[in-house]
């Protein structure tokens, strides 16, 4: 490890509940609901109509901008509705509803690349784009954009296998059960970016996976090295992972490409391999279903668009005292208001909490202990930012670099006064962005006025 990042926390990783359970294939549900936004960027435009028959893997949503990614049917069947449905981001989102015909008829467009070893960078990027691959670790940034903006600048390619969120074991199981897909994907990335070695960064609570990878890499003589990192949250945060592996820090407001790094999650890497060697777009997701509310925690392979309720049914149901359903990990995941929301491309975990994991206080009080600053991996001082946020002091918040906050939640986790720090910063960031947009619009209007 080159240079460990500052701060971080050591929550109980709770992975023992599922890290020895092989991935089970969840039978495709009777109906899938596929939202037209499963990525960061412009939502897709549905390219099928109600009543159409669609095949497995057929494109049903067209990308409408460069920063966007197409969406594919995850089962074969009939489109029964195209209407707003609950989305896991809390809103209602235009979704394509498909009734399963239980045939899983493959779309004719799905075929492996003819000469996978001779693909040019442009061809490979095109395959990635058409397969609808996005950052499957949770950020869902379209992968083809990341590749094309990084080509020529990147000297270090990193596969993010840190999986630092508690409970989540989906990447761990992928590494154990499909190492050839991950190593194959890494091989493609090495050729794409013309680097000698691709780094796989993995936390030392997954030593069995690291050993398996090392063994396979040696057997295949693959251009891949495994970097075993300390288990510390947020080791898997992009900027922190870059620092752990290269010792370089991404400059403020910048992307990893600025320091010559490109980071791909385990499942993204495997998805690139599947897109090239099987022609398969992103139509399924490995999901860890865990938490105190889940009767029988499991790792499930499910189709995109499967309602969460089907996942819980497959795990013995939920406890009656369940008070929170999360999509994603407990540190950065989103709480859901209904179990009807579908599995998306980024759904690496679905958690249900029945016991009091949150430990809130009716009167959150800052005692200035400074633990929030001790754990902040972005070198921020949440203790002061919080006071500014309470008083809406936007200039002070900006001067305190609140925009650098990656919302990892470490400060809030550690706070003995039980302050809602990240929540305050998220709100503050929105306000700053709104104010910036307004200022820009005013400036634009002024300029237009002068010209006119």
């Amino acid at each position: 490890m080159a240079q460990p990042f500052f701060g971080g926390i050591h929550p109980n990783d709770k992975k023992a509940a599922t890290n020895k359970k092989p991935i089970e294939k969840l039978p495709p549900p009777q109906q899938v609901v596929i939202p037209m936004s499963l990525h960061i960027g412009a939502p897709c435009r549905p390219c099928v109509s109600v009543g159409d028959h669609v095949n497995l893997g057929q494109r049903i949503g067209e990308a409408t901008a460069f920063v966007s990614a197409p969406i594919h049917a995850s089962i074969s069947g009939t489109v029964t509705a195209i209407e707003p449905r609950p989305h896991f981001n809390g809103t209602d989102m235009l979704s394509v509803v498909i009734e399963n015909d239980y045939e899983d008829t493959l779309d004719p467009s799905i075929k492996p690349a003819e000469h996978p070893e001779d693909l040019t960078a442009e061809e490979l990027t095109e395959i990635v784009k058409n397969a609808g691959i996005v950052g499957l670790g949770g950020a869902t940034f379209p992968t083809h954009v990341k590749i094309s903006s990084g080509l020529g600048k990147v000297d270090t390619v990193i596969v993010n296998a840190a999986e630092c969120e508690p409970y989540n074991t989906s990447d761990h199981r992928i590494l154990l059960e499909y190492p050839e897909e991950v190593i194959g994907g890494a091989r493609l990335l090495a050729r794409l970016f013309q680097v000698d070695k691709v780094h796989i960064g993995i936390e030392d609570n997954k030593r069995n996976a690291a050993q398996l990878l090392q063994q396979r890499i040696a057997e295949e003589n693959a251009p891949v090295v495994v970097d075993v990192l300390h288990t510390r949250y947020p080791q898997g945060a992009e900027k922190q992972l870059c620092q752990s592996i290269t010792g370089r820090q991404v400059p403020p407001g910048g992307l990893p490409a600025a320091i010559g790094c490109a980071v791909f999650s385990v499942d993204t890497t495997a998805a690139i391999w599947r897109a090239v060697y099987q022609g398969m777009p992103v139509i399924r997701r490995i999901v860890t279903v865990s938490g105190s509310g889940v009767m029988e925690p499991k790792n499930l392979e499910c189709r995109i668009g499967t309602p969460l309720s089907c996942l819980f049914d497959a795990c013995g149901g939920l406890s009656e005292t369940t008070y929170k359903i999360l999509m994603g990990g407990p540190m950065m995941g989103n709480a859901q208001h209904t179990a009807d929301v579908p599995v998306g491309k980024c759904t690496n975990a679905v958690l249900a909490f029945a016991r009091e994991e949150e430990r809130t206080s009716p009167h959150p009080t800052c005692i200035r202990c400074g633990r929030c600053a001790d754990v902040c991996p972005m070198h921020l001082q949440p203790v002061f930012l919080y006071q500014y946020a309470q008083r809406d002091m936007l200039p002070e918040l900006e001067a305190g670099h609140v925009m650098d906050c990656i919302e990892c939640g470490a400060c809030t986790y550690i706070c003995p006064g039980r302050l809602h720090l990240v929540h305050a910063f998220r709100t503050a960031k929105q306000k700053i962005n709104t104010a910036r947009a307004a200022a820009k619009a005013a400036q634009q209007a002024k300029a237009d006025g002068k010209e006119g």
Partner: protein
């Protein structure tokens, strides 16, 4: 099987898990860390050490409860910070101090210093130390030092054998006389005169290790504080035995109690680790300065109070380096915004 639509779901924002330790547990840990020193005080000065501490804790808690009640604010005695203040007020007074005086100290610490400024987290000087500074209005009572091994009477007029403390010997430059009265072993174990809770170095160090182990405090302030005092007294000894002079200075007076339990007070110490070290060094400098040049033999209390007042300055002007930004010179008022 549960119908998922019947669940009452909470949709709060992330993170969804919290560490176990809260304010109350941290304060409880501080009280636990103070127990060895309290036990030794009972051994050294008699049962009055215990009753005095108990009265002080009860007084501090009662004043806080009453204030919150009268002002119609939510009750805060459960966070135990008032109890810690009560313990510390007793610890920094002589065992012979009358009960009424301790209660005045509690009132000053809790109501004037802490609650009037908004309660926990808002005061800008350490309540217990401010109370000690205030209690020096009764200078005689605050400097009547019982000899070690006395059994101070529980009630009524306290009539005990008095004896000069190590600090009064040191301030008159009579190291040889001090060595004749108290050996270094006495200094380390605590069979010496002094304030109720400050005498036993070994018990205070036990408390320090406990707090470090429980991650309640970090090493930065105690180590830089004591280290500065040790270095300065070693470099500028009075007499020709720097090491002995240094050890008596480190083990004597309220240095360890102050460095471990008072200077580390969350509310009145800096946030960043670097600033904590600067703060500790500042405390050490002022302590030695007062001990060497002041007319008062002890400097810990006032050094911490002075540095409490500088915390704002340190926090405001010595910010941590921004992630990904180039290293920059120590002092600069405002960073150029690159936008």
């Amino acid at each position: 099987m549960t119908d998922y639509n019947d669940l009452k779901l909470r949709a709060s924002s992330s993170p969804h898990i919290r560490a176990k330790d809260d304010t109350r547990s941290a304060m409880l840990d501080v009280m636990i860390a103070l127990l060895p020193a309290l036990a030794f005080a009972v051994f050294n000065f008699g049962l009055r050490a215990l009753t005095l501490t108990a009265v002080s804790v009860a007084g501090a808690v009662a004043f806080e409860a009453l204030y919150r009640l009268i002002m119609k604010k939510h009750q805060t005695v459960g966070d135990l910070s008032a109890a810690v203040t009560g313990m510390l007020v007793a610890f920094i007074c002589p065992v012979t101090a009358p009960y009424w005086m301790i209660l005045i100290g509690d009132f000053f610490a809790i109501v004037i210093v802490k609650q009037l400024y908004g309660g926990l987290g808002q005061n800008f000087v350490n309540p217990a130390l401010a109370a000690r500074a205030f209690l020096f209005s009764w200078a005689t009572q605050m400097s009547t030092w019982a000899a070690p091994g006395t059994q101070a009477a529980l009630f009524g007029a306290v009539d005990v054998t008095t004896q000069a403390t190590p600090m009064s010997y040191l301030s008159t430059n009579s190291l040889a006389d001090l060595q004749a009265v108290y050996g270094l072993d006495d200094m380390f174990v605590g069979t010496i005169g002094g304030s109720l809770g400050e005498v036993s170095a070994v018990c205070l160090l036990l408390g320090f290790l406990y707090l470090l182990g429980r991650k309640v405090i970090s090493w930065h302030i105690p180590v830089s504080f004591v280290g500065t005092v040790a270095l300065l007294t070693f470099l500028f000894p009075r007499g020709n035995d720097p090491l002995t002079w240094m050890l008596y200075n480190v083990l004597g007076g309220g240095l360890l109690l102050g460095a471990i339990f008072m200077a580390t007070d969350y509310v009145t110490s800096p946030i960043s680790r670097r600033n904590r070290i600067i703060y500790g060094v500042g405390c050490g400098l002022i302590t030695v300065f007062i001990r060497y040049f002041g007319s008062y033999s002890e400097g810990v209390c006032y050094s911490i109070l002075c540095m409490n007042l500088c915390v704002w300055l340190l926090d405001k002007y010595l910010k941590p380096r921004r992630f990904g930004a180039a290293r920059k010179p120590l002092f600069r008022r405002k960073e150029a915004e690159e936008k």
